[in-house]
Amino acid sequence: MSTHSATLHPPQAARHYTGALDWLTTTDHKKIGIMYIVFALLNGWLGGSLAGMIRLNLYNPNWHIFSPELYNQLMTMHATIMIFLTLMTAFSGFGNYLVPLMIGARDMAFPKLNAFAFWLMIPAALMLYGSFFVVGGAAAGGWWSYPPLSTAQFSAGHGEDLWIMAIILLGISSIMGAINFLVTVIDMRAPGMTWMKVPLFVWSWVVTAWMLVLAVPVLSGAMFMLLSDRWLNTGFYRPALGGDPLLYQHLFWFFGHPEVYIMILPGFGMVSHIIPSMARKKLFGYKGMVAALWAIGVIGFMVWAHHMFTAGISAQARVWFSMASMAISVPTGVKIYSWLASVWGGVIRFSTAMKFAMGFIFTFVLGGLSGLLLAVVPFDIQVHNTYFVVAHFHYVLVGGSVMTLFAGTYFWFPKMTGRMLSEKMGSWVFWLFFIGMNWVFMPMHLLGIEGMSRRIASYRPEFAPLNQFISLGFPFMLLAGLIFTYSMYKAVKGPKNAGADPWNSNPIEQHLEWETDSPPPAYNFAELPEIA
């Protein structure tokens, strides 16, 4: 195959469009990747606005700026948008853009499928946002959408149906994307790129895609069953018909926990590129890093019921899921130590990307270890479904995923656009976001320990001081987002000022994306590279 494709000329598209039509019809992985990222940023703004509304409502114990009905919708949609339309989408964008470049391929294996997977997200997003305007409003059962609350008897509005169907559509899109990634990496690596030479970001996407292919169909199945319970009078989850709500919880979390790793592993991959480049030193423990990714990708499927420690499952089951959940901290620890060892002895350049990568380590250590504590069942019983859990997963998703996405954006933006992002503004973005993020989520640990339940629109007065403090941190994150977005806009409007290898990382680790122009030409490489 290698000799054949090495002489293959880029096929000529039947028809050339320019401008908007070009973007609408493109099958170029780079354009699709950029569309994913822009779409994720847009959704990040919308989902973040919902978070702002939540924090506004919680500023006072009993303000009710929003009715409890609307509060539940805001909270449900904040999670749904952030998980399915922001984080997964953003990582898909980086994956689409970078994976073919990094393995020396001209495009994804199935370019049309790739475009289809992206465009399928648009109707799903329209259904989610549109559901606010149907009778009864958007889905309000939390992003877990546990039955019986989500059955027709307790959520009669079509918001819930739109939500379920949007999740099914997004699932189909994810599965198609994941299969595309797997086939691309398995089949289209440049000649000489053996598996142990595959860059870590590509490895992280291989493991992520494997998790998507295994986990998302289970979610889709659970959603179809829920839909049929709602409208076909089946009784999968309805006790009155002999069904069991716990079945749904098992199915949902069998997807839901791998999902957590789906949203962080590509971030791990990004950091594994940024740190060597910025510390000017080769990545430490490549083999251990790959093994750790796989360990997380396999053990990640055996821990789901730690979300159900207080749902009435047996003590024996809790023993197993407690052990397995703790075991997963071992490969995660391997990654943290390997990153630190990669920096050790290096000569650190504190670019914005590096600041975010280091900030990520700071916050992720905390998020990971609070997760380890939650795996201890007696502790979990004390704080399950309280703000401690809210603090934990925001440390993982904001302190983990979002920080790595910031880092990745600052690192690869020059590759994607040929333009550098302002480092001066970048410094503001980092410090505002880092301070705001810890300001908002650190005190939530305390709220949970003091016994504040999650997903409540009003709360007992003793929780007021901490909640007010937390709400005051939100503007910092908002400001960081504003500067970040403006910085991207300004750079895109400015002149091209980035070379093929703006971070000078080729002498450290020869990754193929830095060997082609910024931005890369159509079909990436005039001649397919060979790896020595």
Partner: protein
């Protein structure tokens, strides 16, 4: 003054004491399960949590000390220093895989006896209460005494094993009283179980499983009183006329789903 009058008076004094304590307790904050644990399971759970916490703290510290150290020590000082050239160290990698593995195994194993006690330790309860979740209030049934209260404080005796059987008539609710260290979901069609042996006091809690519009209004109040006061409260409750049904009359669920 007949014995009956003396008895009634004693009973009245006891119920008044309960009301006074409740009025006092209502003003207090939710009790922190770690610093103000109010039952045997809460104390055990807090001890177990501290144990895990003490093991976790060194790992946070090691990571943070290393992070700050490398950031200061290896920053680019502009002195033309060349980066080191190592990227593998098998003994080191082995150590940072195996040592954390042993530590988490120890933390996990240490917690299992506690879990076992929390699950199976509540033998021979002196009181059984059926806790039934409704949108959006709790119903408490005392089958031994034929008492059924809704939307009110749960009153239980101190220093006795109290056993709670939880279920729901509609959606899933979460029964959570931080000060007593207890939390378990109440699911329709299923029966779940909790037990505790509490110190006297007033405990606040709240539904922890999103159950609909007024989820945040589904509060829990538990009053733990000395046994003699509890007996007096039982008598007073049994004598009192049945409260007029509220908007949603509590209906008895079918208990006994598969567990």
């Amino acid at each position: 003054m007949t014995w009956a009058f003396a008895f009634l008076q004693a009973q009245q004094t006891a119920t008044q004491a309960i009301s006074a304590a409740a009025a006092q307790g209502m003003k207090a904050d939710t009790r922190n399960p770690f610093t103000a644990a109010g039952s045997n399971v809460a104390k055990l759970g807090a001890a177990e949590s501290w144990h895990a916490f003490l093991w976790v703290i060194p790992f946070i510290l090691i990571a943070y000390v290393l992070l700050v150290y490398v950031l200061i020590k290896f920053r680019d000082k502009g002195d033309g220093r060349q980066p080191a050239d190592f990227h593998e160290n098998n003994p080191l990698e082995f150590a940072w895989t195996v040592i954390p593995a042993i530590v988490v195994a120890l933390v996990a194993l240490h917690s299992f006896p506690t879990l076992h006690f929390m699950e199976f330790g509540g033998n021979n309860p002196s009181l059984n209460v059926q806790v039934i979740g409704h949108q959006f209030f709790w119903e408490y049934k005392y089958p031994q005494y034929g008492i059924d209260i809704s939307n009110d404080t749960l009153v239980v005796p101190a220093d006795e094993v109290v056993d709670l059987d939880l279920t729901s008539v509609d959606v899933i609710h979460g029964f959570y009283v931080p000060g007593l260290g207890i939390q378990e979901d109440a699911l329709p069609g299923r029966l779940t179980n909790l037990w505790f042996k509490a110190d006297p006091g007033y405990y606040k809690g709240q539904c922890t499983q999103l159950c609909g519009t007024n989820h945040s209004q589904m509060l829990i109040e538990v009053q733990v009183v000395p046994n003699d006061q509890f007996q007096a409260w039982l008598l007073a409750k049994k004598k009192a006329p049945a409260p007029t049904p509220t908007a949603v009359p509590p209906t008895a669920p079918k208990i006994g789903g598969a567990q």
